[in-house]
Symmetry: C2
Subunit: 247 residues, 2 copies
DNA sequence: TTGACTTATATGTCTAGACATATAATCGTG
DNA sequence: CACGATTATATGTCTAGACATATAAGTCAA
């Protein structure tokens, strides 16, 4: 067959490398449905013969497919096409300046309020901590082409990030500052919808009762809470878009 | 140093395999911030000496880190820690039954309307196709513990998925049917917020004017449109939650 | 029939080499 | 000094082996 007769040597005539071609061949068969979920793909030794290459080369292709969750490998049993990934979506939420400039719009930032205080009970609940330490509470607004884009309410746990006490949040948005100063290990996003209350409506320059998209993001470093942030976006004009390839 | 003195043999005393340990060591240094973005990690030959293993073993660890976008590899220059992934979030949106049963609630499904027709101008715009073919338009509702969970408005392009003409959408939700019968290659999600109109409010058993989370999902197989679906969730009770590890 | 033991086998990991290739760094030259 | 050619080097890919290990499948005894 044609694939076997094309010599499988590095610089023979094929542009991509061999293991990539093997991976792509298999990927294609899976995505077109030729090999449906549950189908057992050829054993490594069969692919070795098919592509006239060593087992390591085949193994590299299959390992990457396994890492991408397209196939499942089971010892002694073989490699199997996995069930489609249940429409799992990858939604990228970049930091605000990147998000806005990526849209080709000019970024603006206004600090509305910034205060340092001993954590109240509400603060502790929001951060998920039990001890009363110092926190910074920030309210600010991000705009695109001078139109309000989102309001941000943020708490930063100073016992995790003491350096934040010296940051100038009038100049730099807290999200950007944290991104560049604090490595995070875990985060949680919650997306919901609300109608604008008085304060939010004023900040976003929309009507009270207008729909808002709300994103709550909690960030941890190791087991320590770093920050909790709530973003309100005008719901009818703002959209979160995620385009992705699936399997 | 301790890592070098522990013998680096497969079944010596270490539980995980060597390349995984190398990968984890590097990952840890990156996530703790010990190796900040831009930092050049040791060359392969240095890691070979450090872990007393062959280059392929080191290479496997580094390749996986590169595949996971934690490092960037440049020929002749070395491997570098990448900038933090700008808080990119992974939001899993499973199919409705899985989503609801994962919450430990019982899944219910009602078909509200299902009709087959030649695509109207509005249908074509929504599907992003120019030719007038046949489509199926479906309205249905998903519920959790007999409480409305989401209303779904869906268009299926019959020229891409002719088999859909024979599916029984009164019995099986169209999302599940498509997931099991049509492999997809690309999708796009858009998340926004609206206030409930009369029809949506009735279907979800909420007040007119209450906030709703809206998810629009378009799915393609290769260059062909498969389906466009719009989901309305009650915004104040429903939340999309995504927890993830970051870098 | 069932449970315990054995065996065959496919994947998992690893080695010590090899050549290919992109490119940072150096060296020459105008 | 600017720019083109050369060189050194780190990664990219590949080979032909090896042993480890989980487990499907077959075997045998209670």
């Amino acid at each position: 067959m044609s694939l076997a007769s094309e010599r499988a040597k590095p610089g023979a005539s094929s542009k991509p490398t061999l293991y990539k071609r093997i991976r792509l061949d298999i990927e294609t068969r899976i995505l077109t449905g030729e090999w449906p979920p549950g189908h057992r793909i050829p054993f490594e030794h069969q692919l070795m013969a098919r592509y006239r290459c060593s087992r390591m080369t085949v193994n590299k292709a299959l390992s990457e497919l396994a890492q991408a969750d397209l196939i499942e490998r089971r010892r002694r049993a073989g490699s199997f096409v996995r069930r489609p990934q249940h429409l799992s979506a990858v939604l990228k939420i970049a930091d605000m300046r990147a998000e806005i400039t990526a849209l080709g719009r000019s970024y603006g930032y206004q600090l509305i309020d910034c205060r340092r205080r001993t954590a109240t009970a509400a603060d502790r609940a929001r951060l998920g901590v039990s001890m009363a330490g110092k926190v910074i509470a920030i309210t600010c607004r991000h705009s695109a082409d001078n139109v309000p884009f989102a309001v941000e309410d943020r708490l930063i746990d100073l016992s995790t990030v003491p350096e934040a006490a010296t940051a100038d949040f009038a100049r730099e948005p807290p999200g950007s500052w944290l991104l560049h100063h604090v490595p995070w290990t875990e985060a949680e996003h919650t997306i919901s919808a609300v109608v604008a209350d008085d304060r939010t409506a004023k900040a976003l320059d929309i009507a009270v009762g207008a729909p808002c998209l709300v994103i709550d993001r909690y960030t941890w470093r190791s087991a320590r809470t770093v920050t909790a942030v709530r973003l309100h976006y005008p719901g009818e004009t703002h959209r979160l878009v995620a385009r992705f390839k699936g399997g």
